[in-house]
């Protein structure tokens, strides 16, 4: 791997509460408390101090880890309370000096990651019975207030001084980068003229008015603070009907970081820096793998956790690798078996695995790189949950082989659970103009219980155990859709035989790698998110469009821009032309 870049890579996204520097996680019965206690001397990269509970990537990596662990390791927790160790400051938002020192691509990816973390928090509340309460006992600015907006309820201390605020526009000439503007009017439904006043008042709004305007849910005095936090947390907790568990401890991923990529047990990323291309390979489960939805080692969880971290490393550590070929290796029957078994397992843990898969696939959609899925070997296994990668990719290339061993198969994982940010399934998005085509593919590719194709080599005891399981029967009976038919059905973008395939793919990859990365990012994001807008698509879309535009404009990051000059002796000078 390269020496650490200006942005601090290589980046490890895996951590553990025992290694947290910036948060303290405490669990008592149904309530968890995440106390923000940012260690100002341990930023993600040197050059700035994390004063006043400001955050950077290292702080948010721990936050993401804590939310994930609450879901898997602490199923008894029904409400998480966010609080701060400082007395007069809850959180002052993303560290401005860090933003000033970072490259454009780092800033964009930092914002994207923090957005995903906050959406995951909302996801935990909506789907996993884990509510959140933001207890802002002090100044809550910028990203600090955006964290509050992502929670189910927000309390602000009524001490005559503490305010919630979005100082980004008046102080820094940028926007709140973590969905704040969208959540303000779409989620909290703050009146838009009031939101306008709020977003241009650097010091923010405090006390009764903050509640009256709907910026917070409760304003609470200091003396009744602790009691109210407990009362509100218990009330939120009591409303939860979804149960998680049983508890499992998430094992380490053991990434092997190499000069040109990273290797995990099931996932591998290799890059070619000269060609600016990469290969992302996801292996399906082995027959010898434990097929058991009580262990975190199970493929459905472990492989997707690996994929998640590989995608993040791709974003942060390989900014110039723009074109990624996605391949899968394994036995499609085993993938389908895992998907079907997972879908019929009714534990909270199994549900968490499916939700994690869904989030990782969304992370894939939201990664600003060109993805071409490639099925060019009989070992490829674009089936079920792994077929989602092909459906989510910008294009899907399939080799037509003589004996029709290369193909795709669908499973329950393609039938609607794995929605994109738009709320559509990937098949639904693919056939946006003709939903019947999606149904046709599902019918054609789905397992046919009545026509078993023969068993797979599971270890004998497990085969015995599973033999009568409906999921096993389903998986054993899948019929692959061969490449040529897949092209006709609209699954493959291009299917070609071995005479044409090599050149076809090579040229496609080289051509893509030569196009402007900026234009490609905009184009891909516009095309991938066909269909309706949701809070999520708005958040990512506006981040990509507006914030990223503003980040590159002279008024924020030019020589005399407000972000450039923040903390420096000179005041910004703006160009006054509006579009």
């Amino acid at each position: 791997m390269d020496k650490p870049s200006a942005d601090g890579g290589p980046t490890r996204f895996e951590t553990h509460p025992s290694r947290y520097k910036h948060w303290k996680l405490a669990v008592t019965g149904e309530l968890a408390t995440l106390t923000m206690a940012v260690d100002d001397e341990h930023p993600h990269k040197p050059g700035y101090e994390l004063k006043l509970n400001s955050y950077d990537l290292s702080v948010d990596i721990e936050l993401a880890d804590a939310i994930l662990r609450l879901r898997f390791e602490h199923p008894e927790v029904k409400c998480v309370v966010f609080t701060a160790e400082l007395d007069r400051v809850f959180c002052s938002g993303a560290n401005i000096y860090m933003l000033g020192l970072s490259t454009h691509s780092f800033k964009v990816n930092f914002c994207k990651f923090t957005n995903e973390t906050r959406i995951y928090l909302e996801d935990a509340s909506a789907n996993s019975g884990l509510a959140s309460l933001c207890a802002c006992k002090g100044t809550t600015a910028g990203g600090g207030y955006e964290l509050a907006l992502a929670c189910d309820e927000t309390m602000l201390v009524d001490d005559g001084n503490s305010a919630v605020s979005f100082p980004e526009t008046p102080l820094l000439a940028v926007l709140p980068g973590t969905g704040g503007l969208t959540r303000l009017v779409d989620k909290r439904k703050v009146r838009r003229d009031r939101a306008d006043v709020f977003c241009t008042t650097a010091e923010g709004i405090k006390g009764k008015r903050a509640k009256e305007w709907g910026l917070v849910d409760h304003v609470v005095s200091r003396s009744s603070w602790d009691a109210t936090v407990t009362e509100r947390a218990k009330s939120l907790s009591a409303k939860q009907t979804v149960t998680r568990g049983p508890a499992v401890e998430l094992p380490a991923l053991s990434a092997k970081v190499e000069a040109n990529g990273v290797k995990y047990r099931y996932v591998e990323l290799q890059v070619d820096r000269t060609a600016r291309t990469g290969e992302l390979t996801v292996r399906g489960p082995e027959a010898s793998d434990v097929l058991d939805f009580t262990t975190p080692e199970t493929w459905s969880l472990h492989a997707f956790r690996e994929l998640d971290e590989a995608l993040l490393r791709l974003r942060f550590d390989f900014p110039e690798i723009g074109m990624i070929a996605v391949r899968t290796v394994g036995d499609p029957k085993l993938v389908v078996l895992h998907d079907e078994l997972l879908a019929t397992t009714t534990t909270g843990f199994a549900r968490e695995i499916r939700l994690l898969q869904r989030r990782v696939l969304k992370r894939f959609d939201n990664t600003a790189r060109s993805f071409y899925a490639v099925a060019d070997s009989a070992q490829s296994c674009f089936a079920g949950s792994l077929l989602e990668l092909a459906l989510g990719a910008d294009r899907f290339y399939m080799l037509i082989d003589g004996d029709q061993k290369i193909g795709v198969a669908t499973s329950v994982a393609n039938a609607g659970f794995n929605v994109m940010s738009s709320g559509l399934s990937r098949l639904g998005a693919r056939f946006y103009g003709d939903p019947e085509l999606a149904t046709a593919v599902l019918q054609r590719g789905a397992p046919k219980p009545k026509s078993p194709r023969g068993a797979i080599a599971l270890p004998p005891e497990r085969a015995k155990l599973l033999a009568e399981h409906p999921a096993y029967k389903l998986a054993m009976s899948i019929e692959m859709i061969p490449s040529e038919e897949a092209e006709k059905l609209g699954i493959a973008t291009i299917a070609a035989d071995d005479i044409d395939f090599g050149d076809e793919l090579r040229i496609a990859l080289e051509e893509r790698a030569s196009l402007s990365p900026d234009a490609l990012t905009g184009m891909e994001q516009s095309l991938r998110f066909v269909g309706p807008e949701t809070l999520e698509t708005k958040i990512f879309g506006r981040l990509s469009a507006w914030q990223n535009w503003i980040f590159t404009r002279p008024n924020s990051t030019g020589e005399h821009g407000a972000l450039t000059l923040y903390g420096k002796p000179e005041r910004p000078q703006f160009g006054w032309k509006r579009t």
């Binding site: 001490d159 005559g160 001084n161 010091e203 005095s221 200091r222 002796p569 005041r571």
Partner: protein
Amino acid sequence: MTNVITDDKIPNNVNLSGDKRLQRALEAWQPKFIDWWKEMGPAPWNEKDIYLRTAISVETEGWANFDYVKMPDYRWGIFLEPKKEGRLHHFGDNMGQPVWDEVPGEFRNMLRRLIVTQGDTEPASVEQQRKLGETAPSLYDLRNLFQVNVEEGRHLWAMVYLLHTYFGRDGREEAEELLQRRSGDADKPRILGAFNEPTSHWVSFFMFTMFTDRDGKYQLAALAESAFDPLARTCRFMLTEEAHHMFVGETGVQRIVKRACELMKQEPNGDVRKAGGVDLPTIQKYLNLWYTLSLDLFGGEVSSNAADAFASGLKGRYKEDRYDEHKLVGSHFAMDVLENGKVIHKDVPMRNALNEVLRTEYIKDCQRGVDRWNKTIREEGIEHELKLPANKFHRQIGMWSGHFFTPDGEMIDQAAFDARRTEWLPNEADETYIKSLMQPVYERGKMANWIAPPIKGINGLPGDFEYVKLP
């Protein structure tokens, strides 16, 4: 019954009788202020006649009008130094342009914050000192306490005038909240930490007026340079009053020091405490405490807010005119900073270092006061020196907070600091002892045993004058 505001009730030079909007705002605010004074001020003394100085105009003979007055009837006035026509920005990015007579929209929030933060300290100190009348060492000191209190009240009026006149509805709300926050209150504390500690006895009161009010002097002096002309003119007039507060503090401590020396000489083995005085090592501890609390009030050593306030012309340096260069782009200030856990001396862009520049001026001023105390000690023939501790010692705000230093400025770890803490800062036993000395002396001309009499009285009057009329 409506509350009618008149020029007579509220002495002013801001054409109050001709300003309907201001009248209406003050009519609503003034009764709340009186309620606040009655609830949070020196309540038991409200019916007493006190020999106070009232400013009734900004002329030389007008600002120091002495007479007996009951505190709630004190005529809190609104005075700005007379306007100088043609005043220009004399520092920052807009140098040479005419100053602002109205709040520029661009800086409205920043200005309001500056004014609210300054304004919040004024009632806070009245609240902190409200119990001190019960243990006054003399009528002279009792009167000085109340003079300080009513003037802090007037400074609040000055800030409220600015909020009412220039900041619209937000300003009125902020003015109300100045009366709602309470020093040390669990629910609505004052904005700055040092103003939430009670001033529980007179040693602390004198240290507060010496060190904390001196911070006020430097903040006001920096705001007196402001290109927002009404703020500059207001602060300039406030500075004349602040001088008296520091006089109370500096001479108060000087008299305790003098008495300590006298008692040292009287007692066979120099045990001042045995003789009922405040010994010099204890004075040093209180000096260490209040001086460092006050250093915190200047804010972070390297500050973007300070740079912004200077660049935009809102807050200058202490006596800006004495400097040659007023833009401060490209110039640097050499100062100690903490980097990777080590103290190093380095150049910081001047604008970002302006809090530290102001603090440095303040430290020099404090040193002059301490020098005078040491002169008193020498004149008494005692070998002892009081010292200002290092600016890194015992800090709660800024880059030294969270790190530990000896009063000599040597970096140590927390365990070493905790082990020696009571050697450097007052402990509970010191507090208990000092409080045991605090017995009121209300007899004309008499002094408590632990403090020497003043050299001269107020307004040329003798020391045994009846400064506070008691039945």
